[in-house]
């Protein structure tokens, strides 16, 4: 059954794929609650479609705010049938740098925030026997790369969390979608070297939403050719993988 995405919460909507998805959902007629830390960015986006894009300022590391904010959005939108979690940070970790505060920030934003929001959505969607939960994970979660241990960890954890959620809720009609993008042209990747197959946030968003709308709980690489890369990367034995500068 096709998934309805008519009243959607997009967390991490002030930039990147979150912003692109919010814009595309609103263009398709949905009421979208855009949630992000930076109020000015939200106002800018909300001004594009007043009434359809509704700003809610929230820092995802303040997980205690989530239950009340979720209820408030639910009331103001007249229900929620979709949650998109697109918040994510990837601070640069220098060679030979070991920075717990950066690691903690990634766990808070990329993982704990996702759990806080998805718990609220999953309970309601299970009860309603409907609803879509979409999480933006990453191909980075496929293997533990040397460049950014905590980022890979949070994305691996998010991928597994979403898989569990899918196995838990799909039987109740909840559509749980994991998106694992490759390189997307966003603020997060700007200035990084060695990028290839780079696609725009708009394109990645469009493909993600198309998959979500199918209503078939699934995990997918965006674009799909990254599945091949993931397969190869996962297949490499550890003693080879550690010699790569990947």
């Amino acid at each position: 059954m096709k998934a309805k995405l008519s009243k959607v919460v997009v967390v991490g909507a002030s930039s990147g794929m979150g912003e692109a998805m919010a814009r595309q959902l609103a263009a398709a007629g949905a009421d979208v609650a855009i949630v992000a830390r930076r109020g000015s960015e939200l106002e800018r986006l909300a001004a594009e479609r007043p009434g359809k894009l509704r700003p809610y300022v929230h820092d995802v590391t303040n997980v205690d705010e989530v239950p009340e904010l979720f209820e408030r959005i639910e009331r103001e939108l007249g229900g929620i049938d979709g949650l998109i979690y697109a918040a994510g940070v990837m601070p640069k970790i220098e060679e030979s740098e070991y920075a717990f505060e950066k690691d903690r920030a990634m766990v808070s934003v990329n993982l704990l925030g996702a759990m806080a929001w998805m718990n609220q959505a999953a309970a309601r969607f299970e009860a309603a026997r409907a609803g879509t939960i979409l999480g933006i994970s990453s191909i980075a979660g496929e293997r533990g790369r040397r460049g950014n241990p905590a980022y890979c960890t949070t994305k691996a954890a998010l991928t597994t969390y979403l898989e569990s959620l899918r196995n838990r809720c799909a039987r109740y009609g909840v559509n749980v979608v994991t998106i694992k993008p490759g390189f997307v042209d966003t603020a997060m990747t700007r200035g990084m070297k060695g990028l290839f197959w780079l696609i725009s946030a708009e394109k990645a968003a469009k493909r993600s939403l198309a998959l979500a709308r199918k209503g078939k709980s699934a995990a997918a690489f965006v674009p799909s050719r990254w599945a091949l890369v993931a397969f190869i990367v996962r297949s490499l034995p550890s003693f080879i993988f550690r010699k790569l500068n990947f």
Partner: protein
């Protein structure tokens, strides 16, 4: 240490999807499981301070939305299950509200005592039995559960502990019993049990070719039977409408049971381990195969015809085996498929009962939605404020719910409700998923509802205690609904 979630509950209480026993209604609720009476009072106080609504839940055996509270807190009382006192010389038992009927009879049967009133399953808690004022197959003779409660403790939303009985706070006692948990938390129940001379009953089976013969079988035995219950094949129509089988049971007198000593043993009170060779824990899967209507029609037909083999015969049966038919097949509620089922029980006055129930069965046929299971019982009035009982008869019916038939089914229940209300009938909230406020007002009468609402206003002025049932069917009848609406988290507009 307390197992309660850390306050504030709005943030820290876990969410849980809770359903009614019929599985056709459910909601995500904040879930608390207190381990002691103190915790209940604490939880109420905390919820009050956060402006959260609260519903109480026992074993979750109400078929509809009586123990669900969308967006609010649900206090699960099943861990408050201590047996506080049992006196085999007087037959008086005291327990916390979370003790189940099963926990109760297992403790008392070997002393020769049986709960005077039990529902069709042993799983419900005493608190649930009080809140719904449940009835058994002997309602016509001994009244409802509440008639055998001597005393109870109530923790009010304001945190006050009140002891209620026929002598102390009598009016409130009669409002709390059957009061749907809307006036406070029942934390202790003192109950008078029935002394029995054997662990068995003498059971007689009588088949009836139609509803009139079923009624006749009841009426011939009303003056002397201790229990009477009828199974109705709701698929039968025309001259056979309302056909089925009546079971009549009597307590045994001294000397009637040759194995009286062993009959009291708990292990002699068991239920069969397998039914027709299928382990009973898996039987619901087999039953699920019967979900198409023609197969249920066939099962009802076979049951009816095979009942004639027992017609007029009598046999000894343990209290448990006779009373708890619903526990024969564990998880039978899953047999109806993913959308579950509703149970709908109508109570009609004696004078016009035969015709009214025939009309109700006919309405099902006209809608091409006969009930898969029908149960007939005889009732008598009782002194409780929100009682569902009357001098008359009840027919309980199970209807499977599917995504396709849901609207049609609700429309059918509206037609049946109108027919029953025209006859002066009533309904039972533990079984309800469909009533509208107007139906409740007609069934219970303004005067009774006003008296109940006055207690509600007095004990729970902010309207903290609620449930999806209350919000659907009763809250709109309160004189000041804005008070409730303002507190119903997630329901009110800001």
């Amino acid at each position: 240490m307390s197992d309660l979630a850390q306050p504030p509950y709005r943030i820290h209480a876990p969410l849980k999807v809770i359903d009614g026993f019929g599985r056709s209604v459910r909601a995500a609720c904040r879930y608390l499981e207190p381990r002691g009476v103190q915790d209940v009072a604490l939880a109420l106080k905390q919820a009050q301070s956060e402006g959260l609504t609260v519903a109480f839940r026992g074993a979750g055996r109400s078929y509809g939305d009586a123990s669900i509270n969308r967006g609010g807190v649900v206090i699960d009382a099943t861990k408050l299950n201590r047996l506080l006192d049992w006196n085999p010389s007087t037959g008086v038992l005291e327990a916390e509200a979370g003790l189940t009927i099963e926990g109760l009879w297992r403790r008392t049967i070997e002393d020769g005592y049986w709960p005077t009133v039990v529902p069709g399953t042993m799983r419900p808690t005493l608190g649930g039995c009080v809140a719904m004022n449940i009835h058994g197959k002997n309602n016509f003779r001994v009244g409802p559960f509440g008639d055998h409660v001597l005393e109870l403790d109530l923790v009010t939303p304001g945190g006050e502990l009140l002891t209620l009985s026929r002598a102390q706070n009598s009016e409130l006692f009669h409002a709390v019993i059957g009061g749907l948990g809307m006036l406070g938390a029942v934390t202790r129940v003192k109950l008078k049990l029935k002394k029995v001379e054997s662990g068995n009953l003498r059971v007689e089976s009588i088949s009836g070719r139609n509803l009139d013969e079923m009624f006749d079988a009841f009426e011939q035995r009303l003056s002397h039977a201790d229990y009477l219950v009828g199974w109705v094949d709701c698929f039968a129509r025309g001259r056979g409408i309302g056909r089925g089988q009546v079971h009549s049971a009597h307590y045994l007198h001294q000397g009637e049971d040759p194995n009286v000593e062993t009959s009291f043993h708990v292990e002699r009170q068991g239920l069969p381990g397998s039914i027709m060779g299928v382990p009973k824990s898996e039987l619901w899967r087999a039953m699920r195969l019967f979900s198409p209507q023609p197969l249920w029609r066939l099962v009802n037909k076979l049951k009816y015809h095979s009942s004639w083999r027992e017609h007029g015969k009598s046999y000894l049966q343990s209290h448990v085996a006779f009373a708890f038919l619903l526990d024969y097949v564990p998880n039978w509620r899953l047999a109806y498929g993913p959308e579950g089922f509703i149970q709908y029980q109508v109570f009609v006055p004696h004078a016009t009962a035969r015709q009214t129930l025939k009309d109700v069965l006919s309405l099902c046929h006209q809608a091409k939605m006969p009930s898969y299971l029908g149960v007939l019982k005889r009732h008598r009035p009782d002194p409780f404020l929100l009682t569902h009982a009357l001098d008359g008869w009840s027919l309980a019916m199970d209807f499977p719910v599917t995504a396709k038939n849901r609207n049609k089914l609700w429309a059918l229940t509206e037609r049946m409700t109108d027919r029953v209300l025209d006859a002066g009938g009533k309904f039972y909230f533990a079984k309800d998923s469909v009533l509208r406020p107007g139906d409740v007002e007609r069934a219970y009468g303004r005067e009774r509802l006003d008296r109940f609402m006055a207690f509600k206003q007095q004990l729970d002025p902010t309207g903290m205690l609620t449930s999806d049932l209350w919000e659907r069917a009763l809250a709109p009848l309160a004189p000041r609904p804005q008070g409730f609406a303002a507190l119903s988290a997630g329901r009110a507009a800001e």
